[in-house]
Symmetry: C2
Subunit: 385 residues, 2 copies
């Protein structure tokens, strides 16, 4: 195992709260005080991904896993125990297809891909075309289908195993309705209203959707029988997981485990959400990527080269650096060197951006190559009726 400040494990973390979580608390959106992850753990009643658990995770880990983007969990320890005991385990990450995908989205799907790769388990990718159709007023069913098919290719192009990956769309694999009905019968309107914040003016498809979402999460167990499923998600989604864990018991299923991921930074930093209009889309060509990074990528550098050389930059709030850290730079030593050089001023903001652009464009080139292969073999992944 490499010794690097960017591999948390090499640092001999021994406190209950990992250094990773502490280190991670300085990010563009947290600088603004928007999100306090420690407080979220307390508030949601989840458990921090502590050093003990972190050390149990098998190598090789991709950047979002090894560099502290995963900070909290429910029953990940039980999931690992089940794996160690030779029991069946699965991993699951859904997708709501309301738009094309950008690089911020990749950080999530790297997590189920990691668990599939290293723990050799089946990955489920339920695509909630119905949810996005219900919730987005102006989204027509044809739009949702187009985004669904497009998003599926992007997710699978990350390298999911065609023999161990099951993708299904609610408007295509409609057999799921029969299972969703069984789940729906166990959720009252009051409960759905409280958990999902439903309003009287919401349409009744929207009201029904919580049943479909819970069914997605329980689907590996509906299909393969009771076992532990790990669900990597943003912590803001945890209330739905918690509701689903309650429902699981009513079917004699195991409560799904989860691992919580922090939000991916927006291209423009603190003020932008991860779905900001200036995101780098996976379909962006090389020049577009370069232009967007030059023009919009939030920088932790100083206003002038002179000042930067003197004072150094701050990688902790620099979006180019953060994306290298959380996704594009696999090499711990290289990342450590960039961190050091940026902080001491020897690496300029423009130079960092150029390196970032090169990494992104190389990734996207390879991504598109893999996407074409996936497209030819799409039937291997899809669960249709």
């Amino acid at each position: 195992m490499k010794k690097s400040i960017f591999d948390n494990r090499s640092k001999g973390i021994s406190t209950e709260k990992s250094d990773a979580a502490i280190r991670m608390s300085v990010t563009p959106w947290e600088v603004e005080g928007d999100i306090n992850y420690d407080k979220l753990i307390e508030e949601f009643g989840t458990r921090p991904l502590d050093s003990h658990l972190f050390y149990r995770l098998k190598d090789p880990m991709p950047p979002p896993v090894k560099r502290g983007m995963c900070f909290s969990h429910r029953d990940l320890d039980k999931w690992l125990d089940a794996y160690d005991n030779g029991e069946k385990v699965t991993v699951l990450s859904g997708r709501g297809p309301s738009e094309k995908m950008h690089i911020g989205h990749l950080t999530l799907y790297a997590i189920p891909k990691y668990f599939q790769d290293v723990y050799k388990c089946t990955a489920y990718i339920p695509v909630s075309d119905d949810e996005k159709f219900y919730v987005k007023e102006n989204l027509e069913i044809e739009d949702v289908e187009m985004f669904a098919n497009d998003n599926i290719l992007d997710i699978l192009a990350m390298g999911f195993d065609p023999n161990k990956t099951i993708v299904h769309k609610d408007f295509e694999h409609t057999k799921i309705y029969k299972y969703a009905a069984q789940v729906a019968k166990k959720i009252t309107y009051s409960t759905a209203k409280a958990v999902f914040g439903l309003k009287a003016e919401n349409n009744i498809g929207w009201v029904f959707y919580p049943a479909m979402q819970a069914t997605h999460i329980l689907y590996p167990q509906f299909i393969e029988g009771p076992h532990l499923t790990l669900v990597p998600i943003g912590i803001d989604q945890d209330p739905f997981i918690r509701a689903t864990r309650d429902i699981a018991e009513k079917f004699g299923f195991q409560k799904p485990a989860t691992i919580h991921k922090k939000l991916a930074p927006g291209l423009e930093g603190p003020k932008m959400s991860s779905s900001g209009k200036n995101a780098i889309w996976l379909s962006d060509d090389e020049d577009t990527v370069a232009n967007k990074v030059h023009k919009y990528a939030f920088s932790g550098g100083q206003p002038s080269i002179k000042e930067h050389r003197e004072k150094g930059g701050n990688p902790d709030i620099d979006v180019s650096f953060l994306y290298l850290k959380y996704f594009f730079e696999e090499d711990d030593n290289k990342l450590e060197q960039i961190d050091r050089d940026y902080r001491d001023g020897s690496l300029l903001s423009g130079e960092l951006k150029e390196y970032f652009i090169e990494k992104v464009n190389n990734y996207l080139k390879e991504h598109r190559r893999r996407r074409e292969i996936v497209e030819k073999n799409i039937d291997k992944y899809m669960l249709r009726d």
Copy 2:
């Protein structure tokens, strides 16, 4: 055309409100003042099935159609116009399978069968297994499936044309979910709550079901394009038709037409609903039918034979007579004779019951024979995924 008091047409009805409707107002449940059909027409804003429209209906008509059980409608005239103009028309009656079927249920399905037979149109029979599963707390999914398959055979055994009949179950033909989602997006929770009387403690499947029901009614148009569908139903179901008519326009569909049927009498008369526990089930054997009629069938006869011979009986509140009138006795002359003989006391209550028992048992024997044939050819009727 036969001249008979039991064929409304032969009576030269010319008033806006048909004699049939007036005659029909003396029935066991109306004697008790439970239901005033004229008031319902006013309340629901539907139109009476007046003599003008009644005369347009093609022969041969089965008892429930020709003897005034159908008393109200929406756009039946437009449906007949469309037929006359050579346009496509369809007929549709659904079924919620929460129990086995009894003879009271037959009076409804005789109506779509009539329209299919005489107007040579496709009949749709959507089976809402999901609805009954959502609404009946103790009904398991296996129960609903069992009742659904059983009910479908009973309905089809009435003689629906295998080449012109489409039956689908929501838990089997789940492709309908994609259409129901499009309908659901156009129904707010507030609206569904108002029309269906939803409560906060109802499950979210129940909340979603209005979308499925509207989709059932619009399904012929989803599948075959815009045209007029006639939906024979109990008038208590009219608010759902009205809601669906509003939705139809949003899809560029035609507003479904409807013909409203009165409630079928319960075996025990005024105090029993049509699903009373002493109903005559289609699966009852000959002795059971005889026993039930002797023991429970509400009689319009007098307490003693002597009194009956003197004062005569009242066929208008006699359940055996009413079932002959509305379903089992095709022959107008025979029914007229029974009516006369019962009123003048020459036909005793026991004799009327014997005749009724014979008619029911003959019907059920033939019904079972047809049911077996249907069972062998069930794939011809079913729309599966």
